[in-house]
Amino acid sequence: MKKRSLLLATIVFSLALLVFACRRDLNNFINDQEVPSSFLESAKIYHGINAKDFRPTDGTEFIKLRPLWRDSWTVKSGGNQLLIVPTIENHVSNRDYKIRRVFIFSKNGNEVKEGKIVEFVAVRYDLDEHLNEIISNYKQNSIKNFNGSIITYDINYFPESSAVFENGNKTNKQAGFVKAVNLRGNIRLTTSSRDGGKISSAGLLSALSGKRDAIGAFICNGCPTKMEPNCLYTFSYTNYYDSKGNITDTVCELVSVICTNTGSGSGSGSGSGSSGGMSASMSGFSGGTGSYGGNPPPSYDCTGTLNGSATMSECGCIGGTTGITACSKDPCKEKVLVTQKATRSDLKLQNADILVKSTTAPLKEYGANQKLLDPTKNTYKAETIYTDNATSTFGPEFSWNNTDGYWVGASHGHPGGTGPSPSDAVWLARPLASSELATAGATGMAQYKAMASSTTMTVNGNYVITVKDWPALVTLKNSFDSNPTAARNAYVNKANDYKAAHPSASDHEASVYALMKLYGSAINLYKAAAGTTTYTPLKLTTTDMVGDLACP
């Protein structure tokens, strides 16, 4: 009897084990989600051919998502069968959010013809319960009761499209993810995948600088007041558009925080495939929950020193272990940077073109803005040369965002051949009061101040102004703005005084003298001979004339 009982128990246990082991297959069988081996093999072939390895760019590691073939299943969609293959997902800290990411393969005949990566972002919605229903309808304009977004990527995780659903209906809004890390004091943003997504960097950077709520048309829910250097912050964002397709508002929501150092408390979550490294962490999300609280993270300064005292400034990281106590723009050192910038083939050609246009009848000032594609990199955005149709004025156009570019100055021509005017100097102080730069926070401000310059092209030589004393320039700018006519007259008068003492002097020489006399306390002025890009710092000599500053 005992033997029979033991045998029976063994059989039941074995059956239970078998059923448990085949649970997924049974589930697929019951729900008509079985994966035909031919479909699976065709999908593997498609993936093998089309999924590529890309080299890291600009220090950003390319994310290649690995299909988890063994966990795949099928879903019927409009009479067709889709192969669903899950992939790596990390944890989501925000309990209101559920995020799933899968490969979706579709056939045309017997062969897989299309493979996509699709992320389903649900807001206060039971995504796991309705996942198949949503997958089945993910290209439709309505999904019953669904609130959230669907972001579609190609097989290499390059973004293709996004759709935002509200109460089951597709809207004209767009969604994406943006990740933020604190790299030695600089907050660096990465949009969905490598180059996709449209989000106001200025808005998010402002939010990350402590302005937590609405900044203009940008709202960030859950933004941390302080970016820890060892943590990856992931935000889901939704852009709102007007009838012309322009972004009117952006709502950003923190969905996860992953910290790599001990004591930072990244929460539990599922974290499948996330091995803890920062770059690995950047690969995604999962439906897990957790919190990003825990013990207070360690504090690093801009040199990366634990509890260090170095801080970011307009000339970079100073103080602490850097040995640099204050910003000092040594003209003899800065002239190298000025020359390097002017020698860049793109700016050199543009400057030459500006001079030709400005000195060709009918004489007008032509110029172009100088904007970076990324404030942390030295790549300039292609800018159009334009004119305000005036013989003696040119208006630069400031912007500080990843759509219009990061303005770090402008170049323009003077048809009359005189040197830079007071306007050309005070230009550089105007952005300090702009809302865009204000929302970019201290980091953006320091980046702007470090890069700002004003170039003037003339037949008598080329000039570059940089700022050596920002508060002094702001004071001069305020004085200029309070009475531009008086400021102009003071400048012309100073030039005339110079000519009074030096009767045969040119206006060109006199104008440079006047600028240095009146604005020299705030600026460094460099000159390159006409047609050249080798700049030399200028100074006022002991005989009260303009001369070259001798550099060691």
Binding site: S421, N489, V492
Partner: protein, 177 residues
């Protein structure tokens, strides 16, 4: 009798020129007519009311060059030199002045370029409303482009018409050597 008449005419002419100071050689550049303006220097000039303007030349001129004259509360500064000048030196100065001033077509003219038989002159006017003063600056270039005479007449805005007459008369009286 004839000798007495000739002597009287010669004496009278010499006396009037010396007494009135109407024509005076300036350096080796030109002969000019000061029309009764009195020679002064930069130190004494600072006591004039017109020199209280923060834009007055006496407050910014750091080189001890040129000569100062005073007439009816106005201050005249004169300078000049021999130089090899471009044919279009004055035209370039005018263009540069307009550019620095931010002049646009349609704005009031601040400059006047005149050609005389032996020289060309550029006159520029600047007014400082916050100081209640103005300045006529002029540059005269000899026909052979080898000499330049320049000057500044500082005036109070209430005296602008008088200043304009003075500068016009002065310019017309220039005789390059």
């Amino acid at each position: 009798m004839k000798i007495k008449i000739i002597f009287c005419i010669a004496f009278g002419t010499l006396f009037s020129n010396l007494a009135m100071g109407q024509e005076t050689a300036f350096k080796n550049i030109a002969v000019v007519n000061f029309d009764g303006a009195k020679r002064t220097d930069i130190t004494k000039s600072k006591n004039l009311k017109i020199a209280k303007s923060k834009y007055s030349l006496v407050n910014s001129l750091e080189s001890n060059v040129g000569e100062f004259y005073e007439k009816n509360g106005m201050l005249l500064f004169l300078n000049g030199e021999s130089a090899e000048l471009e044919n279009n030196h004055l035209e370039q100065l005018e263009k540069g002045f307009k550019e620095m001033k931010g002049w646009r077509p349609g704005d009031p003219e601040f400059t006047k370029l005149e050609t005389f038989s032996q020289y060309k002159v550029l006159v520029m006017n600047l007014e400082f409303e916050d100081q209640g003063t103005g300045k006529y600056s002029f540059f005269a270039v000899s026909k052979n482009n080898k000499k330049i005479l320049n000057g500044v007449l500082e005036y109070e805005l209430t005296d602008k018409a008088k200043a304009s007459q003075i500068i016009e008369k002065f310019i017309k009286g220039i005789k390059f050597k």
